[in-house]
């Protein structure tokens, strides 16, 4: 290779690096339907939440499920889903959606555990002397929950071992276990789980 060509190569590489450093990508937006399944990587996302909620709620609203057949709607309280994954996942979103779907089915009632402090605050205000006694609500009329809905979200992650390759693969397993406990007897009346296994690959080299 003559000197001229070598110098050309050096300058092309240097110039290329500068162009890469200063150039940016055009921004764009795209609207999806909430029903679309969209995954960018192996991590938990909104599509997973929809699948989890759907898979867990479906058996609970079927007429074959004993609680769904009761003439008096069972009263449930949601005590949340523990996050035991290695990601910051808001599990409140899952419980909120499960509660909403069960309420929409018309087969269950829920006491609002998250609003207890506000309910007490409002009742105390009604009895503070500022509210017309004929319009204030009676205390000690709340309904007791019969069943408690709890669960745990777990994950196992496995990365491909180090070796010479251009892509790095990650396998991720999520499982959400959910339980319905009879508060009076402490028996677990129902339990189910949803699993998601996903592999994704990322390039080692980029710009």
């Amino acid at each position: 290779m003559n000197q001229f060509v070598r110098i050309q190569y050096v300058f092309i590489v240097a110039l290329f690096a500068v162009v890469v450093a200063v150039s940016g990508c055009r921004s764009s937006t795209k609207t999806y339907s909430p029903e679309d399944v969209v995954h960018y990587d192996e991590s938990y996302d909104a599509s997973d939440k929809k699948k989890i909620v759907r898979d867990l709620v479906d058996p609970l609203v079927q007429d074959t499920f004993p609680l769904a057949r009761q003439t008096e709607k069972p009263i449930l309280v949601v005590y949340g889903i523990s996050n035991r994954t290695s990601e910051h996942i808001s599990t409140d979103g899952i419980t909120d959606d499960i509660r909403m779907e069960l309420l929409k089915s018309g087969k269950y009632s829920f006491v609002n555990e998250t609003q207890r402090a506000n309910i007490e605050k409002e009742l105390n205000y009604q009895y503070s002397g500022n509210v017309d006694p004929s319009t204030r609500l009676q205390k000690a009329k709340q309904l007791g929950a019969e069943y408690m809905l709890t669960g745990t979200l777990r994950s196992i992650e496995k990365k491909q071992p180090r070796q010479v390759r251009l892509q790095k693969k990650t396998l991720k397993y999520y499982s959400l276990n959910i339980e319905l406990t009879n508060i009076e007897t402490s028996l677990i009346e129902w339990a189910d789980k949803v699993e998601i296994v996903r592999e994704s690959s990322k390039p080692f080299i980029g710009w």
Binding site: Q3, R6, I7, V10, F11, V13, A14, F16, A17, V18, V20, A21, S82, N83, R84, T85, S86, E87, H88, E157, K168, K202, P203, F204, I205, G206, W207
Partner: protein, 412 residues
Amino acid sequence: MRFFSFRARCAFLVLWSLWIYGCGVGSLNTARRAFYDNRPEKALQTLTESKPVSGRDKLLLLMEKGTILHEMGEYDQSAGVLRKASELMEKQDVVNVGQQTAALVTSDWATEYKGEYCERLWVHTYAMMNYLLLSKYESALVEAKQTLKVFDRYGSPLSEDYFTRALVAHSYEILGELDDAYIEYKKLAADLPNNRDLNVKLFETARRLGFNDDAERYRDEISGYPPEKPDDYGELVLFAGMGKMSVKQASDIVIPPSIRISYPQYMDTPLPAADVTVLNTDVPLTGISIGTDLRSVAKQSLSARAREYITRQAARAAVKETISQTIDNEDAAALSILVRMVFFLLEEADTRGWETLPAFLKLMIIPLPPGKHHLKAVFLNEHGASVEETDLPVTISHPGARVYRSVRMTGK
């Protein structure tokens, strides 16, 4: 076809190299000085000004902001910033060809700062502390699991970070994941043999798990020390930071005529205090304490990266020498000297680092009865005399309650 003359292209290369080198870390240094002058608000303001550092130092910006906010007691904001740092580290796993090419003809300053292995760990350690201080225990456990990934990935250079490892076990323990807590305590005990404080934890955890044989063994090892925590007690969990993290400095090897190899080294910084204790009306409280000399872990972490560093240096020296010799052969003597000089000066070790970290971190778990306690965290010199004191009001609301506090002596 030649669009530019040979001299013009050389000048362009030199100017570009100087431009890359010129993007320094000025505002970071200003913020660090303000932080160690006990003006954290000023430090934060400096880092919050619009575009205070180049994109290549974004991770450093987030790390420094994270510790400054933590020391200001803004734990929620600190956790948010450190999560951004964590996301950035994830993105940085992809090798950037443009930056690597630039680094080949300039120096490592041309690349994005990715953090030493230990710094990548401490992003999660500080986030874990923040979440514990905010009583967000599930989030603390998420960070604990992230630290375990870093330990898995980088291994032995980080194994002496006993503080983080104990905090990981603690994060499992407070959420009732006792099996995992026990495993982490046992792994830690394997590296810290005959540590009576740790044996206390192992005894307590083994007993709660119903591992009676193990519990008996640990009870023998800790007989009489410290007294068992009464069941109606709560506990104070204190994170005590001391001193200033070692900073990196460049050391040089020169090979005539113009090859310079520059590599970073951590310079020792003295500890402003030898220990920290907690007093209740001048009486020292006993408990469990496990500490880490962050300076030592940082040195081991940098050493572990030495092979990678040497390879990069060798490649860069070869590229620079090839360019210089090519210019020599073009009969452009003056230009050749100029280019060699610039390359020589540019060859500066990458001494960037997370400098607002403390030199030493200590985890203290102190049993306390329910009630209000007017405690003091006292930093002691090597003779046991007080160097600095911090008031530590603590209220244990009920048996089993945990209160988290964080104190720091920067030692201006």
